[in-house]
């Protein structure tokens, strides 16, 4: 009886299997890294209709977040300000700047400025700014150093796992409520320690059960 397969078949086969296996493992690892929310969800930086720079306003000029996002400590939503708010200054400041002209148009015509939404939570999740801000969670925890961003960019995954992370051990992200908008706040001692004290004082216990965020 004759041989069906050439002499080398088995060697080749085993080597091939080895290679495939190796590739599968490494490929899986790479995929796992790339598909992780850390990678997938961050970095979204849409083009905004008006070249508004948070760095300039919040950073260099040091305007407090609450000046524009007024309802952040009163409601679930940190409302995007009405054009009116811009006009408080810009009817005098740089009124002829091309970008400002857009603003004045909007104010004149009453047509809203179509800002592009940057931070989008997963569906079914209900986030409440008021609850977090009053508890002493700083803007920076979720939005990053907005005061250093010329264009606003999503820096955190805003995924369920990421939320749970902080809800399970909040200490590190809790600070005195009056400091929440001080994005550059650097305490002289371990912030987690301060957090723990505040948590004890206010008896803060973030929910980790479903209805905490899902209704």
């Amino acid at each position: 009886m004759s041989q069906l397969f050439p002499r080398l078949t088995d060697k080749v086969l085993r080597i091939a299997l080895g290679v495939v296996g190796l590739m599968a493992v490494t490929g899986g690892g790479v995929a796992a890294y790339l598909l992780h929310p850390e990678q997938v969800d961050t970095g979204y930086t849409p083009k905004q209709p008006i070249a508004y720079s948070h760095k300039l306003h919040a950073g260099d000029l040091g305007i407090d977040c609450l000046y524009c996002h007024t309802s952040v400590d009163k409601a679930a939503f940190a409302a995007v300000p009405a054009t009116e708010t811009c006009m408080n200054c810009h009817d005098r400041v740089k009124p002829q700047h091309p970008e400002i002209i857009k603003i004045r148009e909007s104010y004149a015509t009453g047509n809203p400025i179509p800002w592009v939404k940057v931070h989008k939570l997963p569906d079914y999740a209900y986030f409440n700014h008021q609850a977090h801000v009053t508890a002493g969670v700083s803007c920076v925890s979720c939005h990053g150093r907005i005061d250093q961003m010329i264009e606003v960019k999503q820096v955190e995954p805003l995924s369920m796992a990421w939320c749970l992370n902080c809800h399970r051990n909040p200490a590190a992200s809790i600070r005195p409520a009056e400091l929440v908008t001080k994005l550059s706040w650097k305490p002289d001692r371990d912030p987690a320690e301060i957090g723990r004290e505040i948590i004890a004082a206010k008896n803060i216990h973030p929910p980790t059960n479903c209805s905490g965020c899902h209704r």
Binding site: A31, L34, L35, P37, Q39, V40, D41, G43, Y44, P46, S71, D73, K74, A75, A76, F77, A79, V80, P81, A82, T83, E84, T85, S106, Y107, T109, G110, N111, P112, I113, P114, W115, V116, K117, K120, L121, P122, D123, Y124, A125, Y126, N128, Q130, A131, T134, A135, S159, K202, N203, P207, N209, C210, S211, G212, H214, R215
Partner: protein
């Protein structure tokens, strides 16, 4: 899916990634497919970003599932559109509550309407209003959906052609200028108590002295007023104090249900019935009625009687009470029953109450006045107040109009509201007559049957869209504030009338404000603001009670003159619990809300007693033909235990031909056999057609099978054994194999439902539907047993199958501490919160339905299909943004309105991190319950109301013996029968 961004979020049109996947664009861009994909892969629709460098697993999954999925695989670019100019004290996302008024039968109930970012989403009762006291009827709540009805009358139409208001005014102004004295001008108006409208009316009639103002409402209280006319010589409105009455006898009066335009009677009655300790007493209720109503359901003694025989009962009662004898010869077989009732009433003279329903002829009402006088109840539990001058029975006015029309004496007809073509007695044949009128103008919210026959059909504003006012039954002025700009081109009644007659004020706001402003005391501006805030003008005088004595002579004459009950089967006409008189026909919530007694949805039926059914040889589902006089209508039969024999009841408001996508062709038109001399009831005939007609019920089995579900006892028995409910079933010492989880920390939510005061009125069902975005599934799905209501009112019959007693059992998720549903969910989509809630995470649910199978209460609801897909854009405005809209394949159920708990908690924390106060969180059902039968709260706080109720002897848990540890418990049902009739 997710929460609605307050600042209007829109998908920008250029969000399609045309630069890649071009080859798939065709497929990808069919919006239907994309919506579907977004529904099915919310993650893929949201998580993924516009970046070719990163492909995600979900992207691959979507791709592999349907190539077109790829479009859904980048973050859809969403826009945030803030206002250009800020709005004063408006915080995006924070709901606001405004007071307004809902009018039914010309009587106002005060409302508090929850608005999210400028759109009303939830209707609640106004606690400051004497006729709401915080509660709202199912109708009042469901009227929200009428606002968002996609089939409303939207634009002025001239003989079916869309017009502009300008076109109309161009036509109308010269026309009305040329009417002279208005000899041939007629106004046909839906009755209204609005003072501002009355003012415009005065102006109109002074401008056109020759014109006639006709008011007509298919379900009116004229007989009662006419009864007072007979007894007291003047037309009077009757008022009852159900709370003060210890013994009540109702003659065909569904005062807890459809015969009362407000919920006040329920509040009063339930206060008199509530038993909180074994010393407490409760009032006793006798009911005499043909069909089974919720009032009959609450009766301690119920006498089923043909509507035409009620008069003899009344007369016999008067005789027994020692009053004059008006019964000439006629006798009643119920002597013993009446005697006992009479004795009971007499024993409580001054604290008793006899009432007659709007369906009973005037003479019976007059007789009842005598009875109450005999019992010394006048001025005690019964009071009378004046009605507006120039009152005439509406039917009379309408007949006159019909005559004028027939004689061609009417050249211009203005119909303000209502739908006379559908609701008027058939023998008047208004449809044809209207067609003859040269100029006929209709102002109506609905594009209805009347709109089909008039020249000009004008859109009317919904009451949440415009300014107005109305009087409560006691004359309290109630302000009707708009919640939203008119969605379409509607105008209000007074607005149109002002336009036609050149009234001084044109804008509704001015008309209303100027009506009251002058009369306001003190700082008028401040007072006006307060009135708007409170919803009522407190300073205004209430209607004063009239003290008069009934004239026995006149009464007996009138009684003698009563036309005798005809031969043949008696046909009764009732308001329907769903469509009322047809104004809710296109309202999906009301169509699907089960009729309280029969649990029938999406239909009306001819209710008849088992005996009559046997005699006629019909069974439920047979299609009958009902004839009254010459008129005929088909109607499916439905056997109603406890119905009077040789009598059938049919409800109005169905069989609409022109109302909209929801209501068209639903049910059969009872109005087709409603004639002006058989307006409320009359003798007719019933024939079988041999055909069957499918009826959809939400409940198929009405016997408790001897199971200890609703635990009931007499007051007497309760006094001796207050804890009888606890012993209805043996609950052994229950223990678990595991060391059990304990719920001691923080708030622990629970609910107590008082079966003794619950009347089963559906208010909670609608409240829940509105609050929790519960979909409507339609007749076919209900027939398949797939209704979605989170709270259902189980109806059980007991005792004699021909003349049973009924109990209602509100059933929603019991939030078991050791919940059988949680253990079996493979993906942990339903777990327990630290506060004892049985949580349901919709986005985790894969839809095995195992939890529903393992729920002994069967309170879980499954989205078998995409029940939200047919909701129009405007319909979506009714959604509560604080609650997810569930997609198909997802299980859902009552969660104690967890969104309200969360809101309250966040508020409490922002407010100095204090604990939530008792009563700060009210579930939608508790908030609206007219009988205050539902109490929700923290069982961990010994001071809370609920903790006290749970400590009561009558408190028990359903199926406790299964060791499910329900958080919802019940207070046992009590009845207070007359020992003499026991």
């Amino acid at each position: 899916m997710s929460s609605v961004d307050p600042t209007l979020v829109q998908l920008s049109p250029n969000s399609e990634p045309r630069k890649y996947w071009r080859s798939l664009d065709e497929l990808a861009n069919t919006p239907k497919f994309r919506d579907w994909l977004h529904r099915e892969f919310p993650e893929s629709a949201s998580e993924l970003v516009d970046d070719k460098s990163r492909r995600t697993m979900l992207k691959l999954m979507a791709a592999s599932f349907g190539l077109a999925g790829l479009t859904a695989c980048r973050r859809p670019e969403q826009k945030i559109l803030p206002q250009s100019k800020g709005i004063e004290d408006y915080i995006p996302g924070k709901p606001q509550f405004y007071a307004t008024a809902y009018t039914q039968g010309g009587v106002a109930s005060g409302l508090l309407v929850e608005c999210h970012d400028g759109r009303p989403t939830k209707i609640e009762g106004n606690p400051r209003h004497g006729y709401s006291l915080g509660s709202a009827s199912a109708f009042a709540q469901a009227s929200l959906l009428n606002l968002y009805d996609p089939d409303r009358a939207k634009y002025p139409m001239k003989e079916g052609v869309r017009m502009k208001w300008d076109d109309f005014t161009v036509f109308a102004q010269p026309h009305f200028a040329g009417l002279g004295q208005g000899q041939d001008l007629r106004f046909l108006v839906e009755p209204s108590s609005s003072p501002s409208l009355a003012a415009v009316k005065q102006h109109a009639l002074s401008k056109y002295p020759g014109a006639k103002w006709i008011e007509y409402e298919p379900l009116n209280r004229d007989e009662a007023i006419a009864g007072a006319q007979i007894a007291f010589g003047q037309p009077l409105e009757v008022h009852h104090q159900f709370e003060k009455a210890e013994v009540i006898l109702s003659l065909d009066f569904d005062f807890l249900g459809l015969d009362s335009p407000t919920i006040l009677p329920v509040k009063q009655f339930s206060n008199a019935r509530r038993v909180e300790s074994k010393e407490d007493h409760m009032s006793r209720l006798y009911v005499v009625e043909p069909s089974y109503t919720v009032t009959g359901g609450m009766a301690d003694h119920r006498l089923r009687s043909r509507a035409a025989d009620v008069r003899t009962v009344a007369a016999e009662l008067l005789k027994q009470l020692g009053g004059l004898t008006v019964l000439n010869g006629a006798t009643t077989p119920h002597g013993r029953w009446i005697a006992a009732a009479a004795k009971d009433l007499k024993a409580h003279a001054g604290k008793s109450l006899v009432v007659a329903g709007p369906r009973q002829p005037a003479a019976v009402h007059a007789l009842v006045a005598l009875i109450n006088q005999q019992l010394g109840n006048l001025g005690q539990t019964v009071t009378y107040t004046k009605v507006a001058d120039g009152w005439r029975p509406q039917l009379e006015q309408l007949k006159e109009l019909a005559a004028d029309l027939a004689a061609g004496r009417v050249k211009t007809l203005v119909i303000l509201g209502g739908n006379p073509v559908y609701t008027a007695p058939t023998d008047l044949a208004l449809a044809d007559k209207f067609k003859q009128v040269p100029v006929s103008i209709l102002l109506s919210e609905q594009d209805n049957e009347t709109a089909a026959v008039v020249k000009w059909a004008l859109p009317e504003t919904h009451y949440l869209e415009t300014w107005g006012d109305a009087l409560a039954a006691d004359g309290t002025p109630t302000v009707q504030q708009p919640m939203i700009e008119p969605l379409y081109e509607g105008k209000s009644k007074s607005e149109l009338l002002a336009l036609l007659t050149g009234y001084k004020d044109k804008r509704p706001y001015d008309i209303v404000r100027n009506q009251w402003f002058a009369s306001l005391p003190g700082d008028k501006e401040k007072a006006w603001r307060k009135a708007l805030h409170d919803g009522i003008v407190e300073s205004a005088p209430k209607a004063a009670p009239v003290s008069a004595t009934p004239n026995a002579q006149k009464v007996s004459e009138a009684f003698a003159a009563l036309k005798p009950a005809g031969q043949g089967t008696e046909v009764n006409f009732f308001a329907s619990a769903g469509a009322y008189d047809g104004r809710f026909s296109n309202n999906a919530w009301m169509q699907e809300a089960p009729e309280p007694m029969t649990k029938l949805t999406w239909d009306n039926a001819a209710l008849l007693s088992p005996a009559t059914a046997k005699q006629l040889g019909v069974e439920s589902g047979d299609l009958l033909e009902i004839a009254v006089g010459g008129a005929k209508t088909p109607m499916p039969a439905l056997i109603q235990p406890g119905h009077a024999d040789n009598s059938i009841s049919i409800s109005l408001g169905y069989g609409r031909t022109r109302v909209g996508r929801v209501g068209n062709g639903v049910g059969h038109n009872a109005g087709a056999v409603r004639t002006s001399d058989a307006f409320w009831f009359g003798s007719g005939s019933v024939a079988k057609t041999g055909r069957k007609y499918p009826l959809s019920h939400t409940q198929e089995h009405f016997s408790m099978e001897g199971r200890p579900i609703v635990r009931e006892a007499t007051l007497e028995h309760f006094h001796h054994h207050p804890d009888f409910a606890k012993h209805a079933v043996h609950v052994p010492k229950l223990f678990s194999l595991y060391d059990e989880h304990t719920y001691e920390k923080g708030a622990q939510w629970g609910m107590v439902i008082d079966l003794n005061t619950c009347i089963g009125c559906n208010a909670c069902v609608v409240a829940c539907q509105s609050e929790n975005n519960i979909p409507v599934v339609g007749k076919d799905q209900v027939a398949r047993g797939r209704e979605m209501h989170w709270i259902r009112l189980d109806r059980y019959y007991s005792n004699d199958p021909n003349d049973p007693q009924v109990v209602t059992h509100p059933m929603a998720c019991q939030q078991c501490e050791s919940a059988p549903c949680e253990v079996v969910c493979p993906v942990a989509a339903t777990v327990h919160s630290p506060e004892g809630l049985n949580e349901m995470a919709y986005n985790r649910c894969v839809g095995t339905r195992y939890c529903a199978n393992n729920c002994p209460y069967k309170v879980r609801r499954f989205n078998f299909l995409e029940y939200h897909k047919d909701i129009t854009e405007v319909g979506k405005m009714a959604h509560n943004p604080d609650v997810s809209v569930r997609m198909r394949g997802v299980m859902e159920k009552c969660n104690y309105c967890v969104q309200r708990i969360q809101e309250a908690r966040i508020a409490a924390k922002a407010d100095g991190r204090r604990p939530i106060r008792d009563g700060e969180v009210k579930t939608a059902c508790m908030q609206t319950c007219p009988a205050d039968a539902i109490v929700f709260g923290n069982i961990n706080d010994p001071e809370s109301r609920i903790s006290k109720l749970r400590k009561q002897d009558a408190n028990y848990g359903v199926l406790e013996e299964l060791n499910t540890r329900p958080r919802t418990t019940y207070l046992a049902k009590l009845r207070n029968p007359n020992p003499e009739l026991a």
